[in-house]
Symmetry: C2
Subunit: 497 residues, 2 copies
């Protein structure tokens, strides 16, 4: 066990070093460093991978496999289970395919960025085609897993996720969301005139930091920096890096920042005993997104949150916000409005953006959709689900980076995480009856500690489905999420739901 731990610790170090290199690339690195950074990252990845897939690790795992009894909940037992699962998966992908996937990603991402700039899907098509080809080869490596092609992809983001379950959950959402969105669109929109104007970055940053510090950010263990596409990463459990994006035309940065805080606080909350093991890595994208969405939406779009913070925001921007109250602001940050871009979507329409992608991915992987027909299929679904006409591919099929880097199966985790966030929130509220009062007085410690105890500290010790069940008492369930959305819509728009 000591030998296994030692080796896994070295792999952990190499991976985290790589995460720092990636963070630096997106926040600090001068642009001409790109090519060398590619070399450095691929070298780190290569060593971490080779060290892990070695026969020695296999033998160590083999030797330890029998030592844990059924139901053994010790860290060691979890470590062997998780490492064995990862090892078996990693061994199945030949080094050559792995390298080819990385190369295709390195080429695909800048090609996508260029194509999006020019709204030129044809220019991106060959890269997309290559990524899909490689993804199908990747799926082939797991032909003996008994899983469907798409489920093999899902497994990389959520252990043992099944598209059958997801499709059922999403069907339920479609049933409710499509009419709900239509109803809101037919009614009167909330006022947002005060939310546009000039909001200097320094003030937004100061306000973002004020929120973060209330939520649990400390400068001893965290950083916040601007970037193009916000993300969070943990270089170490005590070195959490958030990034956000500022536009001087609006205050959307608040929600980027609090979304990334949710990712960061999950990592920060992992039990220090798990450090330098795979148990300190993220459990599942679904659980991770549940936390980014919980802090972004359930906390930061709530009435009590803004009862506390709006006066401070108003003080920072008196010209724009002097004439409105916290209730008007709350309505604004919760307005529902179909739009083209997923990352700008409100809570209600967001789901349809994801379902659209999920459905298209399944068609692509099953070979039922020709890639040249993808823009058309995209636009048709946008019309059907959101009644939105897509003016060009930059605002349509080219808007997201994921497919250019070969990430298929990732999108559904955003929505599944959002669904889970409401279930977890309800569980928290059931135990903390004064949660609203706490938030209204700027107090987030008890919530943070509750989440830390139930979820964060466990890292990967408990498989994700079981982890969720322990917190919410059952499987993923769309109903609380639908109830939550409908109540909000009724509250804001007076729509009968």
């Amino acid at each position: 066990m000591d030998e296994l731990r030692e080796r896994l610790a070295l792999i952990h170090d190499l991976k985290r070093a790589g995460w720092l290199l990636s963070w630096d690339q997106l926040t600090m690195m001068p642009p001409n460093g790109t090519e060398s950074r590619g070399d450095q990252l691929s070298t780190l990845d290569r060593f971490a991978h080779e060290l892990f897939v070695s026969d020695e690790v296999g033998e160590l795992l083999e030797g330890l496999a029998g030592s844990a009894k059924d139901g053994d909940e010790s860290i060691d037992a979890a470590l062997v289970r998780v490492a064995r699962r990862d090892w078996e998966k990693a061994r199945k992908v030949p080094a050559e395919l792995r390298a080819e996937i990385t190369r295709a990603e390195v080429r695909g991402v800048p090609a996508w960025a260029e194509a999006r700039k020019n709204s030129d899907f044809q220019a991106f098509l060959p890269y997309l085609r290559r990524n899909v080809e490689l993804k199908l080869q990747y799926i082939e490596c797991f032909a003996d897993s008994g899983k469907s092609a798409y489920d093999i992809l899902l497994d990389d983001y959520q252990e043992d996720a099944r598209s059958e379950d997801i499709t059922a959950v999403f069907a339920r959402l479609k049933e409710e969301l499509i009419p709900l969105i239509r109803e809101v669109a037919a009614g009167e929109q909330v006022d947002s005139s005060f939310a546009h104007g000039h909001f200097p970055v320094e003030k937004q940053e100061a306000f973002g930091r004020e929120i973060l510090e209330r939520l649990g950010y400390t400068s001893e263990a965290w950083r916040l920096d601007p970037t193009v596409h916000p993300f969070a990463t943990s270089i170490a459990l005590d070195d959490i890096r958030l990034t956000t994006r500022y536009s001087e035309a609006d205050l959307e940065s608040i929600f980027h920042t609090t979304h990334e805080f949710g990712h960061g606080i999950y990592e920060y909350g992992i039990d220090r005993e798990l450090n330098r093991t795979p148990l300190a890595e993220l459990n599942s994208m679904v659980l991770h997104e549940s936390q980014s969405r919980l802090w972004e939406n359930l906390v930061c779009r709530s009435r009590p949150f803004w009862r506390f913070f709006f006066p401070k925001l108003q003080e920072l921007f008196p010209d724009q916000l002097g004439g409105v109250n916290d209730e008007a602001w709350w309505r604004y940050v919760n307005r529902v409005e179909p739009s083209h871009i997923r990352v700008e979507a409100d809570e209600v329409t967001y789901g349809m953006h994801i379902i659209l992608r999920y459905e298209l991915e399944q068609e692509i992987i099953a070979g039922r959709l020709e890639l040249e027909d993808l823009p058309e299929a995209w636009n048709a679904k946008m019309k059907e689900y959101l009644d939105v006409d897509v003016p060009d591919d930059a605002k349509g099929v080219l808007q997201d980076v994921h497919w250019s880097g070969g990430s298929f199966g990732y999108f559904p985790t955003y929505l599944l995480g959002t669904i889970a966030s409401v279930q977890i929130w309800e569980a928290a509220r059931a135990e903390m009856t004064d949660l609203d009062a706490q938030m209204e007085s700027g107090e987030f410690g008890p919530l943070r500690e509750w989440l830390g105890d139930k979820l964060y500290r466990w890292g990967r010790r408990v498989p994700p489905e079981e982890m969720l069940a322990r917190i919410v008492g059952g499987p993923l369930d769309a109903e609380p999420y639908l109830r939550y959305l409908k109540a909000k819509v009724a509250d804001i728009y007076g729509v009968k739901v």
Copy 2:
């Protein structure tokens, strides 16, 4: 050769990744990340080292040893020469000793920082003792090299440097510098009243960047960030990171920044053909310091430099500098004044700070000086060389970080580099007769290109002594340096020299 290059490229990547981790630690990392950063750095170092000292590399080098003919100046021949030299040295140090040296450094540096804070040499003494013990064990590893103990240490910073030569050069300096310093001290000091006051960091930073951009910094390939102890590092040949330190009480940051620029431009100027090989690493600390000192002193403390830049500085700080002219400023930045702290020393007294350390290091390594007597020996030499009374050990023997990290043999390279900088400057002036006129019009491109052609682009292709000889036509020589200092002193102080 391809196999050797491939392996060296991976080692190069691991090392540069480590440099980024170190840079981040000193500029960006939240403080609680320290412990994990130590793990990450030692893991990267371990892989780079193991990969390099392997038998496979030895066999590759053996196989290639005969392929280069005498006088072969090709990149391949240089690569084999340099890699073989490094490999043989690296193989001689057992992994256990290497790890122990690293551990002692990791413990020694914070212990020193704490001891310096409290001016408590006794608290630092056990760490210093451990470092010296380990250094003596390190020297033992090279017992068959035919070198003296101190020369073995010197070799880590300047290939084949000999203390015999250094002692002779330093003796010549002492002969001249000690009386020169006394003479200046006896005369009238230049006015520096205008140089103290309140200089906001943002303005200093803007001015520093203005200088850097004139010198050759571009935001495409460089960064500049604040830190506690200024340094420069190259994450890649196209990713140069400078750091500097700002004090709002004075404008010393200008000289930190331009000093580090000298290090940065050397790295930036390395031939891209040498990338991902050991030939792209630094040739010698002497040559490297020659460039930091050349840009800091010969360029940035020169009259023509300030004829161009002083009006801009004056415009930024009209309250403080409105009443003086560029000549008064030039005299101020070149004033000579014995003081306690090496890094704040002027060009004339600087040498004595180094000679003092060099002499003490030799005594320590030879076992002729008991470590508990070190403060007393330090203070006696400060009195003898600079007529300065040391008030406490924080301002004396505890001021520098080097010994706490086990760096013995490093100090002399600062002064040797400074000596070389004047030789190189004279060679440049001999070829570029309008250098002063160029600097006076803010034009540094020709100087940068000349240095790039003669020195930077070569990387480690040519051994350092030979490299210097090619540029200046002979060996290291104190006379140009002495002439330069004396002329400056005569100019400013009217002292007859």
